[in-house]
Symmetry: C2
Subunit: 276 residues, 2 copies
Protein backbone atom coordinates (compact mmCIF):
# COMPACT_ATOMS: atom_id res chain seq x y z
CA UNK A 1 0.00 0.00 0.00
CA UNK A 2 1.37 3.44 -0.93
CA UNK A 3 1.39 6.43 1.38
CA UNK A 4 -1.20 8.16 -0.82
CA UNK A 5 -3.52 5.16 -0.55
CA UNK A 6 -3.11 5.00 3.21
CA UNK A 7 -3.83 8.71 3.57
CA UNK A 8 -6.87 8.36 1.30
CA UNK A 9 -8.21 5.49 3.40
CA UNK A 10 -7.80 7.57 6.54
CA UNK A 11 -9.58 10.59 5.11
CA UNK A 12 -12.37 8.45 3.67
CA UNK A 13 -12.96 6.53 6.90
CA UNK A 14 -12.20 9.59 9.04
CA UNK A 15 -10.10 7.43 11.29
CA UNK A 16 -6.40 6.73 11.83
CA UNK A 17 -7.08 3.91 14.23
CA UNK A 18 -4.98 0.76 14.20
CA UNK A 19 -6.45 -2.17 16.10
CA UNK A 20 -3.83 -4.32 17.82
CA UNK A 21 -4.62 -8.03 17.64
CA UNK A 22 -2.75 -9.08 20.79
CA UNK A 23 -5.08 -12.01 21.17
CA UNK A 24 -4.37 -13.97 24.35
CA UNK A 25 -6.18 -17.29 24.55
CA UNK A 26 -6.46 -16.91 28.33
CA UNK A 27 -8.33 -13.61 27.95
CA UNK A 28 -10.91 -14.34 25.26
CA UNK A 29 -14.54 -15.04 26.18
CA UNK A 30 -15.02 -18.54 27.55
CA UNK A 31 -17.76 -19.49 25.07
CA UNK A 32 -15.23 -19.25 22.21
CA UNK A 33 -13.07 -22.01 23.67
CA UNK A 34 -15.48 -24.51 22.11
CA UNK A 35 -14.58 -23.28 18.61
CA UNK A 36 -12.13 -25.31 16.53
CA UNK A 37 -9.68 -22.39 16.58
CA UNK A 38 -10.75 -20.03 19.39
CA UNK A 39 -8.15 -17.33 18.68
CA UNK A 40 -9.10 -17.22 15.00
CA UNK A 41 -12.80 -17.10 15.84
CA UNK A 42 -12.14 -14.21 18.22
CA UNK A 43 -10.05 -12.35 15.62
CA UNK A 44 -12.59 -12.97 12.87
CA UNK A 45 -15.39 -11.46 14.90
CA UNK A 46 -13.23 -8.56 16.11
CA UNK A 47 -12.22 -7.77 12.52
CA UNK A 48 -15.80 -7.99 11.28
CA UNK A 49 -16.95 -5.68 14.07
CA UNK A 50 -14.22 -3.05 13.85
CA UNK A 51 -13.21 -2.84 10.18
CA UNK A 52 -15.53 0.09 9.52
CA UNK A 53 -13.72 2.18 12.13
CA UNK A 54 -10.06 1.40 11.61
CA UNK A 55 -7.49 1.63 8.81
CA UNK A 56 -4.94 -0.87 10.11
CA UNK A 57 -4.65 -4.14 12.02
CA UNK A 58 -1.53 -5.03 13.96
CA UNK A 59 -1.22 -8.66 15.04
CA UNK A 60 1.39 -8.98 17.79
CA UNK A 61 3.50 -11.93 16.72
CA UNK A 62 4.41 -13.06 20.25
CA UNK A 63 0.81 -13.98 21.03
CA UNK A 64 0.62 -16.29 18.01
CA UNK A 65 4.10 -17.76 18.40
CA UNK A 66 3.45 -18.71 22.02
CA UNK A 67 0.93 -21.28 20.75
CA UNK A 68 3.52 -23.01 18.59
CA UNK A 69 3.03 -23.86 14.89
CA UNK A 70 -0.77 -23.85 15.34
CA UNK A 71 -0.61 -20.24 16.49
CA UNK A 72 1.01 -19.33 13.19
CA UNK A 73 -1.74 -21.18 11.32
CA UNK A 74 -4.18 -18.98 13.24
CA UNK A 75 -2.22 -15.90 12.13
CA UNK A 76 -2.31 -17.09 8.52
CA UNK A 77 -6.09 -17.53 8.64
CA UNK A 78 -6.49 -14.17 10.39
CA UNK A 79 -4.56 -12.38 7.64
CA UNK A 80 -6.98 -13.82 5.08
CA UNK A 81 -10.04 -12.24 6.71
CA UNK A 82 -8.56 -8.74 6.91
CA UNK A 83 -10.03 -6.69 4.04
CA UNK A 84 -7.57 -5.95 1.22
CA UNK A 85 -7.66 -2.16 1.70
CA UNK A 86 -6.76 -2.26 5.39
CA UNK A 87 -3.08 -1.80 6.19
CA UNK A 88 -1.47 -4.72 8.04
CA UNK A 89 1.41 -4.49 10.48
CA UNK A 90 3.44 -7.49 11.67
CA UNK A 91 4.35 -6.29 15.15
CA UNK A 92 7.44 -8.44 15.37
CA UNK A 93 10.29 -6.09 16.44
CA UNK A 94 12.76 -8.02 14.30
CA UNK A 95 16.28 -7.05 13.20
CA UNK A 96 19.33 -9.23 12.57
CA UNK A 97 22.31 -9.50 10.21
CA UNK A 98 21.44 -8.98 6.55
CA UNK A 99 20.79 -12.56 5.42
CA UNK A 100 18.59 -13.14 8.47
CA UNK A 101 16.59 -9.91 8.17
CA UNK A 102 16.02 -10.92 4.56
CA UNK A 103 14.50 -14.22 5.80
CA UNK A 104 12.25 -12.31 8.20
CA UNK A 105 11.19 -10.02 5.33
CA UNK A 106 10.21 -13.09 3.31
CA UNK A 107 8.31 -14.44 6.31
CA UNK A 108 6.14 -11.39 6.78
CA UNK A 109 5.83 -10.13 3.21
CA UNK A 110 5.80 -13.31 1.12
CA UNK A 111 4.36 -15.88 3.47
CA UNK A 112 1.86 -13.92 5.57
CA UNK A 113 1.39 -10.98 3.14
CA UNK A 114 1.79 -8.17 5.64
CA UNK A 115 2.18 -4.60 4.37
CA UNK A 116 4.75 -3.74 7.03
CA UNK A 117 6.96 -5.02 9.86
CA UNK A 118 8.13 -3.34 13.05
CA UNK A 119 11.94 -3.43 13.23
CA UNK A 120 14.40 -2.74 16.08
CA UNK A 121 17.31 -0.43 15.16
CA UNK A 122 20.08 -1.67 17.49
CA UNK A 123 21.92 -3.66 14.79
CA UNK A 124 21.99 -0.75 12.34
CA UNK A 125 21.52 -0.20 8.63
CA UNK A 126 22.16 -3.68 7.19
CA UNK A 127 19.66 -5.16 9.68
CA UNK A 128 16.92 -2.74 8.57
CA UNK A 129 17.27 -2.26 4.81
CA UNK A 130 16.40 -5.89 3.88
CA UNK A 131 12.87 -4.99 5.00
CA UNK A 132 12.61 -2.19 2.40
CA UNK A 133 10.68 -3.42 -0.60
CA UNK A 134 8.36 -1.79 -3.13
CA UNK A 135 4.87 -1.40 -1.71
CA UNK A 136 6.03 -2.52 1.76
CA UNK A 137 6.97 -0.57 4.88
CA UNK A 138 9.61 -0.72 7.59
CA UNK A 139 8.26 0.61 10.87
CA UNK A 140 11.38 1.37 12.90
CA UNK A 141 11.37 1.65 16.68
CA UNK A 142 12.39 5.16 17.70
CA UNK A 143 10.91 6.03 21.10
CA UNK A 144 8.82 3.24 22.60
CA UNK A 145 5.96 3.51 25.08
CA UNK A 146 7.38 1.40 27.91
CA UNK A 147 9.35 2.40 31.02
CA UNK A 148 12.46 0.78 29.56
CA UNK A 149 12.48 3.42 26.80
CA UNK A 150 14.36 5.53 29.37
CA UNK A 151 17.25 3.06 29.67
CA UNK A 152 18.91 3.59 26.31
CA UNK A 153 16.63 5.50 23.92
CA UNK A 154 16.90 8.64 26.04
CA UNK A 155 20.69 8.40 26.53
CA UNK A 156 22.54 11.55 25.47
CA UNK A 157 24.93 10.87 22.66
CA UNK A 158 27.41 13.07 20.88
CA UNK A 159 26.12 12.93 17.32
CA UNK A 160 28.71 12.27 14.61
CA UNK A 161 26.20 13.87 12.20
CA UNK A 162 25.41 17.20 13.87
CA UNK A 163 28.38 17.33 16.31
CA UNK A 164 25.84 18.21 19.00
CA UNK A 165 24.38 16.24 21.87
CA UNK A 166 21.18 14.45 21.08
CA UNK A 167 19.21 11.56 22.46
CA UNK A 168 19.81 8.11 21.02
CA UNK A 169 16.28 7.96 19.57
CA UNK A 170 16.93 11.30 17.78
CA UNK A 171 20.16 9.88 16.40
CA UNK A 172 18.22 6.82 15.23
CA UNK A 173 15.69 9.10 13.49
CA UNK A 174 18.36 11.29 11.83
CA UNK A 175 20.52 8.38 10.71
CA UNK A 176 17.84 5.99 9.55
CA UNK A 177 15.87 8.49 7.48
CA UNK A 178 18.72 8.30 4.97
CA UNK A 179 18.10 4.57 4.53
CA UNK A 180 14.70 4.93 2.90
CA UNK A 181 12.07 7.52 2.06
CA UNK A 182 8.94 8.60 3.90
CA UNK A 183 7.10 6.47 1.33
CA UNK A 184 8.58 3.26 2.76
CA UNK A 185 9.54 3.97 6.38
CA UNK A 186 7.47 4.83 9.43
CA UNK A 187 8.54 5.17 13.06
CA UNK A 188 7.18 3.88 16.35
CA UNK A 189 6.76 6.72 18.83
CA UNK A 190 4.97 5.88 22.06
CA UNK A 191 2.01 7.99 23.20
CA UNK A 192 3.56 8.07 26.66
CA UNK A 193 6.03 10.76 25.49
CA UNK A 194 3.65 13.46 24.12
CA UNK A 195 6.05 16.23 25.20
CA UNK A 196 8.69 14.91 22.78
CA UNK A 197 6.41 14.53 19.74
CA UNK A 198 6.82 18.11 18.51
CA UNK A 199 10.59 17.84 18.43
CA UNK A 200 10.30 14.46 16.71
CA UNK A 201 8.10 16.08 14.06
CA UNK A 202 10.88 18.62 13.43
CA UNK A 203 13.32 15.79 12.65
CA UNK A 204 10.89 13.75 10.54
CA UNK A 205 8.13 16.08 9.32
CA UNK A 206 6.96 13.76 6.55
CA UNK A 207 6.97 10.26 8.00
CA UNK A 208 4.03 8.33 9.29
CA UNK A 209 4.25 7.52 13.00
CA UNK A 210 2.79 4.40 14.52
CA UNK A 211 1.76 5.41 18.02
CA UNK A 212 1.12 2.73 20.62
CA UNK A 213 0.40 3.43 24.26
CA UNK A 214 -2.97 5.21 23.99
CA UNK A 215 -5.44 3.55 26.36
CA UNK A 216 -4.14 0.74 28.62
CA UNK A 217 -0.68 2.33 28.76
CA UNK A 218 -2.02 5.80 29.56
CA UNK A 219 -1.31 7.98 26.50
CA UNK A 220 -3.79 10.65 25.29
CA UNK A 221 -5.19 10.74 21.75
CA UNK A 222 -5.69 14.51 21.87
CA UNK A 223 -2.11 15.23 22.89
CA UNK A 224 -0.64 12.81 20.37
CA UNK A 225 -2.74 14.20 17.54
CA UNK A 226 -2.03 17.84 18.39
CA UNK A 227 1.71 17.41 17.89
CA UNK A 228 1.80 14.35 15.65
CA UNK A 229 -0.47 15.09 12.68
CA UNK A 230 1.16 16.28 9.47
CA UNK A 231 -0.15 17.20 6.03
CA UNK A 232 -0.68 13.58 4.95
CA UNK A 233 -2.20 12.83 8.37
CA UNK A 234 1.01 10.92 9.20
CA UNK A 235 -0.41 9.09 12.21
CA UNK A 236 -1.60 5.61 12.96
CA UNK A 237 -2.71 5.40 16.58
CA UNK A 238 -2.90 1.89 17.95
CA UNK A 239 -5.24 0.56 20.55
CA UNK A 240 -5.18 -3.11 21.51
CA UNK A 241 -6.50 -4.18 24.89
CA UNK A 242 -8.95 -1.26 25.25
CA UNK A 243 -10.78 -2.46 22.12
CA UNK A 244 -10.36 -6.21 21.91
CA UNK A 245 -11.01 -6.85 25.60
CA UNK A 246 -13.73 -4.21 26.00
CA UNK A 247 -15.98 -7.06 27.19
CA UNK A 248 -15.09 -10.60 28.21
CA UNK A 249 -18.64 -11.85 27.68
CA UNK A 250 -20.58 -13.03 24.62
CA UNK A 251 -21.04 -9.42 23.52
CA UNK A 252 -17.26 -8.93 23.08
CA UNK A 253 -17.49 -8.08 19.38
CA UNK A 254 -20.22 -5.47 19.92
CA UNK A 255 -18.26 -4.00 22.79
CA UNK A 256 -15.13 -3.86 20.60
CA UNK A 257 -17.15 -2.19 17.81
CA UNK A 258 -18.44 0.43 20.24
CA UNK A 259 -14.99 1.14 21.58
CA UNK A 260 -13.49 1.44 18.08
CA UNK A 261 -16.43 3.62 17.02
CA UNK A 262 -15.87 5.91 20.00
CA UNK A 263 -12.17 6.37 19.24
CA UNK A 264 -12.90 6.85 15.51
CA UNK A 265 -15.48 9.52 16.37
CA UNK A 266 -12.87 11.41 18.37
CA UNK A 267 -10.44 11.07 15.44
CA UNK A 268 -13.12 12.30 13.06
CA UNK A 269 -13.47 15.53 15.03
CA UNK A 270 -9.70 15.99 15.14
CA UNK A 271 -9.37 15.39 11.37
CA UNK A 272 -12.28 17.74 10.57
CA UNK A 273 -10.62 20.53 12.49
CA UNK A 274 -7.33 19.98 10.67
CA UNK A 275 -8.32 19.01 7.12
CA UNK A 276 -11.47 20.95 6.32
Amino acid sequence: MTRAELTQNILRKKSYLCVGLDTDITKIPVHLLKAEDPVFEFNRQIIEATQEYCVAYKPNLAFYESLGPNGLLTLEKTMKVIPENIFTIADAKRGDIGNTSEMYARTFYDYYHFDSVTVAPYMGKDSVTPFLREGKWVILLALTSNAGSMDFQLSEICSPVTGKEEKLYEHVLRTSQKWGTAEEMMYVVGATHPDLLSSIRKIIPDHFLLVPGVGAQGGSLQEVSASGLNDHVGLLVNSSRQIIYASSAEDFADAARNEAKKIAAEMNLILEKRFS
Copy 2:
Protein backbone atom coordinates in the same frame (compact mmCIF):
# COMPACT_ATOMS: atom_id res chain seq x y z
CA MET B 1 21.24 -25.58 32.37
CA THR B 2 23.40 -23.89 35.04
CA ARG B 3 26.67 -22.13 34.34
CA ALA B 4 28.56 -24.87 36.20
CA GLU B 5 26.96 -27.54 34.03
CA LEU B 6 27.77 -25.62 30.85
CA THR B 7 31.40 -25.13 31.93
CA GLN B 8 31.65 -28.83 32.82
CA ASN B 9 30.30 -29.83 29.41
CA ILE B 10 32.87 -27.60 27.74
CA LEU B 11 35.80 -28.97 29.73
CA ARG B 12 34.63 -32.56 29.22
CA LYS B 13 34.16 -32.18 25.46
CA LYS B 14 37.15 -29.84 25.19
CA SER B 15 35.05 -27.60 22.94
CA TYR B 16 33.14 -24.35 23.26
CA LEU B 17 31.68 -24.63 19.80
CA CYS B 18 28.09 -23.65 19.10
CA VAL B 19 26.69 -24.86 15.78
CA GLY B 20 24.28 -22.43 14.17
CA LEU B 21 21.33 -24.14 12.51
CA ASP B 22 20.61 -21.45 9.90
CA THR B 23 19.10 -24.07 7.65
CA ASP B 24 18.05 -22.61 4.29
CA ILE B 25 15.96 -24.95 2.18
CA THR B 26 17.51 -23.48 -0.98
CA LYS B 27 21.02 -24.41 0.20
CA ILE B 28 20.63 -27.98 1.44
CA PRO B 29 21.79 -30.93 -0.70
CA VAL B 30 19.35 -31.68 -3.51
CA HIS B 31 18.90 -35.36 -2.60
CA LEU B 32 17.25 -34.30 0.69
CA LEU B 33 14.42 -32.53 -1.10
CA LYS B 34 12.74 -35.94 -1.54
CA ALA B 35 12.44 -36.33 2.24
CA GLU B 36 9.07 -35.61 3.88
CA ASP B 37 10.62 -32.71 5.80
CA PRO B 38 13.94 -31.84 4.09
CA VAL B 39 15.00 -29.18 6.60
CA PHE B 40 14.41 -31.54 9.51
CA GLU B 41 16.26 -34.36 7.77
CA PHE B 42 19.19 -32.01 7.16
CA ASN B 43 19.19 -30.85 10.80
CA ARG B 44 18.87 -34.38 12.15
CA GLN B 45 21.91 -35.54 10.22
CA ILE B 46 23.92 -32.41 11.06
CA ILE B 47 23.13 -32.86 14.77
CA GLU B 48 24.02 -36.54 14.68
CA ALA B 49 27.30 -35.75 12.94
CA THR B 50 28.42 -32.79 15.06
CA GLN B 51 27.12 -33.43 18.60
CA GLU B 52 30.40 -34.96 19.73
CA TYR B 53 32.24 -31.73 18.91
CA CYS B 54 29.93 -28.99 20.10
CA VAL B 55 28.27 -27.89 23.35
CA ALA B 56 25.45 -25.78 21.90
CA TYR B 57 23.06 -25.55 18.96
CA LYS B 58 21.62 -22.26 17.82
CA PRO B 59 18.65 -22.46 15.45
CA ASN B 60 18.12 -19.12 13.74
CA LEU B 61 14.40 -18.50 13.99
CA ALA B 62 14.11 -16.51 10.77
CA PHE B 63 14.98 -19.53 8.66
CA TYR B 64 12.16 -21.60 10.19
CA GLU B 65 9.61 -18.77 10.26
CA SER B 66 10.11 -18.05 6.56
CA LEU B 67 8.53 -21.45 5.82
CA GLY B 68 5.33 -20.58 7.69
CA PRO B 69 3.72 -22.81 10.35
CA ASN B 70 5.40 -25.90 8.84
CA GLY B 71 8.80 -24.33 9.45
CA LEU B 72 7.94 -24.10 13.14
CA LEU B 73 6.93 -27.76 13.13
CA THR B 74 10.38 -28.48 11.73
CA LEU B 75 11.92 -26.46 14.56
CA GLU B 76 9.87 -28.38 17.11
CA LYS B 77 11.05 -31.71 15.72
CA THR B 78 14.63 -30.45 15.53
CA MET B 79 14.60 -29.49 19.22
CA LYS B 80 13.58 -33.05 20.09
CA VAL B 81 16.65 -34.60 18.46
CA ILE B 82 19.15 -32.33 20.23
CA PRO B 83 20.67 -34.29 23.14
CA GLU B 84 19.52 -33.18 26.60
CA ASN B 85 22.96 -32.05 27.76
CA ILE B 86 23.59 -29.73 24.83
CA PHE B 87 22.75 -26.07 25.41
CA THR B 88 20.12 -24.64 23.05
CA ILE B 89 19.86 -21.05 21.90
CA ALA B 90 16.80 -19.56 20.20
CA ASP B 91 18.49 -16.98 18.00
CA ALA B 92 15.45 -14.77 17.80
CA LYS B 93 16.64 -11.23 18.71
CA ARG B 94 13.34 -10.51 20.44
CA GLY B 95 12.43 -7.68 22.84
CA ASP B 96 9.13 -5.87 23.35
CA ILE B 97 7.00 -4.35 26.14
CA GLY B 98 6.74 -6.54 29.23
CA ASN B 99 3.56 -8.52 28.48
CA THR B 100 4.84 -9.26 24.98
CA SER B 101 8.35 -10.29 26.00
CA GLU B 102 6.64 -12.59 28.52
CA MET B 103 4.78 -14.22 25.60
CA TYR B 104 8.03 -14.67 23.70
CA ALA B 105 9.61 -16.22 26.82
CA ARG B 106 6.75 -18.72 26.94
CA THR B 107 7.24 -19.45 23.25
CA PHE B 108 10.89 -20.32 23.51
CA TYR B 109 11.05 -21.80 27.01
CA ASP B 110 7.70 -23.53 27.44
CA TYR B 111 6.74 -24.44 23.90
CA TYR B 112 10.07 -25.20 22.21
CA HIS B 113 12.09 -25.89 25.41
CA PHE B 114 15.09 -23.74 24.59
CA ASP B 115 17.66 -23.02 27.32
CA SER B 116 18.15 -19.44 26.15
CA VAL B 117 16.98 -16.65 23.84
CA THR B 118 18.90 -13.84 22.17
CA VAL B 119 17.33 -10.49 23.09
CA ALA B 120 17.78 -6.96 21.66
CA PRO B 121 18.34 -4.24 24.30
CA TYR B 122 16.83 -1.17 22.60
CA MET B 123 13.57 -1.23 24.57
CA GLY B 124 15.35 -1.47 27.94
CA LYS B 125 14.91 -3.31 31.21
CA ASP B 126 11.23 -4.27 31.14
CA SER B 127 11.68 -5.74 27.66
CA VAL B 128 14.55 -7.97 28.83
CA THR B 129 13.72 -9.15 32.37
CA PRO B 130 10.66 -11.24 31.36
CA PHE B 131 13.20 -13.59 29.74
CA LEU B 132 14.96 -14.19 33.09
CA ARG B 133 13.79 -17.46 34.56
CA GLU B 134 15.40 -20.13 36.73
CA GLY B 135 17.54 -22.46 34.67
CA LYS B 136 17.14 -20.27 31.57
CA TRP B 137 19.37 -17.61 30.01
CA VAL B 138 18.98 -14.20 28.40
CA ILE B 139 21.64 -13.63 25.75
CA LEU B 140 21.63 -9.87 25.26
CA LEU B 141 22.98 -8.18 22.13
CA ALA B 142 25.90 -5.96 23.05
CA LEU B 143 28.25 -5.58 20.08
CA THR B 144 27.13 -7.47 17.00
CA SER B 145 29.25 -8.82 14.16
CA ASN B 146 27.68 -6.93 11.25
CA ALA B 147 28.67 -3.65 9.61
CA GLY B 148 25.57 -1.99 11.09
CA SER B 149 27.04 -2.45 14.57
CA MET B 150 28.86 0.83 13.82
CA ASP B 151 25.66 2.81 13.35
CA PHE B 152 24.45 2.95 16.94
CA GLN B 153 26.32 0.46 19.13
CA LEU B 154 29.57 2.41 18.74
CA SER B 155 27.96 5.83 19.32
CA GLU B 156 29.64 7.80 22.11
CA ILE B 157 27.24 8.50 24.92
CA CYS B 158 27.64 10.45 28.11
CA SER B 159 26.97 7.78 30.73
CA PRO B 160 24.54 8.72 33.49
CA VAL B 161 26.23 5.94 35.54
CA THR B 162 29.91 6.85 35.30
CA GLY B 163 29.58 10.45 34.13
CA LYS B 164 32.15 9.65 31.45
CA GLU B 165 31.89 9.09 27.74
CA GLU B 166 31.43 5.51 26.71
CA LYS B 167 30.11 3.62 23.72
CA LEU B 168 26.46 2.63 23.65
CA TYR B 169 27.33 -1.07 23.80
CA GLU B 170 29.43 -0.40 26.93
CA HIS B 171 26.50 1.45 28.45
CA VAL B 172 24.28 -1.53 27.61
CA LEU B 173 26.78 -3.87 29.31
CA ARG B 174 27.10 -1.70 32.45
CA THR B 175 23.38 -1.05 32.81
CA SER B 176 22.06 -4.50 31.99
CA GLN B 177 24.41 -6.43 34.25
CA LYS B 178 22.34 -5.08 37.16
CA TRP B 179 19.23 -6.78 35.75
CA GLY B 180 20.42 -10.33 36.31
CA THR B 181 23.50 -12.29 37.36
CA ALA B 182 26.23 -13.94 35.33
CA GLU B 183 24.39 -17.19 36.07
CA GLU B 184 21.42 -16.12 33.91
CA MET B 185 22.71 -13.56 31.40
CA MET B 186 25.18 -13.83 28.56
CA TYR B 187 26.11 -11.27 25.90
CA VAL B 188 26.50 -11.38 22.14
CA VAL B 189 29.88 -9.97 21.11
CA GLY B 190 30.81 -10.37 17.46
CA ALA B 191 34.16 -11.90 16.51
CA THR B 192 34.63 -9.06 14.06
CA HIS B 193 35.62 -6.72 16.92
CA PRO B 194 38.53 -8.65 18.54
CA ASP B 195 40.26 -5.39 19.51
CA LEU B 196 37.35 -4.50 21.79
CA LEU B 197 37.03 -7.85 23.56
CA SER B 198 39.63 -7.08 26.27
CA SER B 199 37.86 -3.92 27.33
CA ILE B 200 34.53 -5.79 27.26
CA ARG B 201 36.03 -8.40 29.57
CA LYS B 202 36.93 -5.60 32.03
CA ILE B 203 33.27 -4.55 32.20
CA ILE B 204 31.87 -8.09 32.41
CA PRO B 205 34.64 -10.39 33.65
CA ASP B 206 32.28 -13.19 34.69
CA HIS B 207 29.67 -13.48 31.95
CA PHE B 208 29.57 -15.98 29.15
CA LEU B 209 29.87 -14.41 25.71
CA LEU B 210 28.20 -15.83 22.64
CA VAL B 211 30.52 -14.98 19.78
CA PRO B 212 29.22 -15.13 16.21
CA GLY B 213 31.19 -14.02 13.20
CA VAL B 214 34.02 -16.59 13.20
CA GLY B 215 34.27 -18.16 9.74
CA ALA B 216 31.96 -16.80 7.01
CA GLN B 217 31.98 -13.31 8.59
CA GLY B 218 35.78 -13.23 8.96
CA GLY B 219 36.49 -13.37 12.73
CA SER B 220 39.44 -15.33 14.18
CA LEU B 221 39.04 -18.03 16.84
CA GLN B 222 42.55 -17.45 18.20
CA GLU B 223 42.03 -13.72 18.68
CA VAL B 224 38.59 -14.15 20.22
CA SER B 225 39.81 -16.82 22.63
CA ALA B 226 42.92 -14.89 23.68
CA SER B 227 40.90 -11.98 25.00
CA GLY B 228 37.55 -13.65 25.64
CA LEU B 229 38.23 -16.69 27.84
CA ASN B 230 37.67 -16.32 31.57
CA ASP B 231 37.98 -18.69 34.54
CA HIS B 232 34.74 -20.54 33.74
CA VAL B 233 35.70 -20.58 30.06
CA GLY B 234 33.02 -17.96 29.46
CA LEU B 235 32.89 -18.38 25.69
CA LEU B 236 30.57 -20.00 23.20
CA VAL B 237 31.90 -19.47 19.69
CA ASN B 238 29.33 -19.96 16.97
CA SER B 239 29.89 -21.22 13.49
CA SER B 240 26.95 -21.71 11.13
CA ARG B 241 27.57 -21.69 7.39
CA GLN B 242 31.18 -22.89 7.61
CA ILE B 243 29.98 -26.13 9.23
CA ILE B 244 26.50 -26.85 7.94
CA TYR B 245 27.27 -25.99 4.32
CA ALA B 246 30.78 -27.50 4.29
CA SER B 247 29.56 -29.68 1.43
CA SER B 248 26.44 -29.40 -0.70
CA ALA B 249 26.63 -33.02 -1.83
CA GLU B 250 25.50 -36.30 -0.28
CA ASP B 251 28.50 -36.24 2.08
CA PHE B 252 27.26 -33.02 3.76
CA ALA B 253 27.00 -34.59 7.23
CA ASP B 254 30.52 -36.03 7.09
CA ALA B 255 31.85 -32.73 5.83
CA ALA B 256 30.06 -30.92 8.68
CA ARG B 257 31.51 -33.42 11.18
CA ASN B 258 35.02 -32.83 9.85
CA GLU B 259 34.62 -29.07 10.00
CA ALA B 260 33.25 -29.21 13.58
CA LYS B 261 36.02 -31.64 14.56
CA LYS B 262 38.65 -29.28 13.15
CA ILE B 263 37.32 -26.28 15.08
CA ALA B 264 36.96 -28.37 18.25
CA ALA B 265 40.56 -29.57 17.92
CA GLU B 266 41.72 -25.96 17.78
CA MET B 267 39.59 -25.19 20.83
CA ASN B 268 41.04 -28.21 22.62
CA LEU B 269 44.56 -26.81 22.23
CA ILE B 270 43.46 -23.39 23.43
CA LEU B 271 41.70 -24.88 26.49
CA GLU B 272 44.67 -27.11 27.34
CA LYS B 273 46.98 -24.13 27.37
CA ARG B 274 44.65 -22.20 29.64
CA PHE B 275 43.15 -24.82 31.99
CA SER B 276 45.88 -27.40 32.59
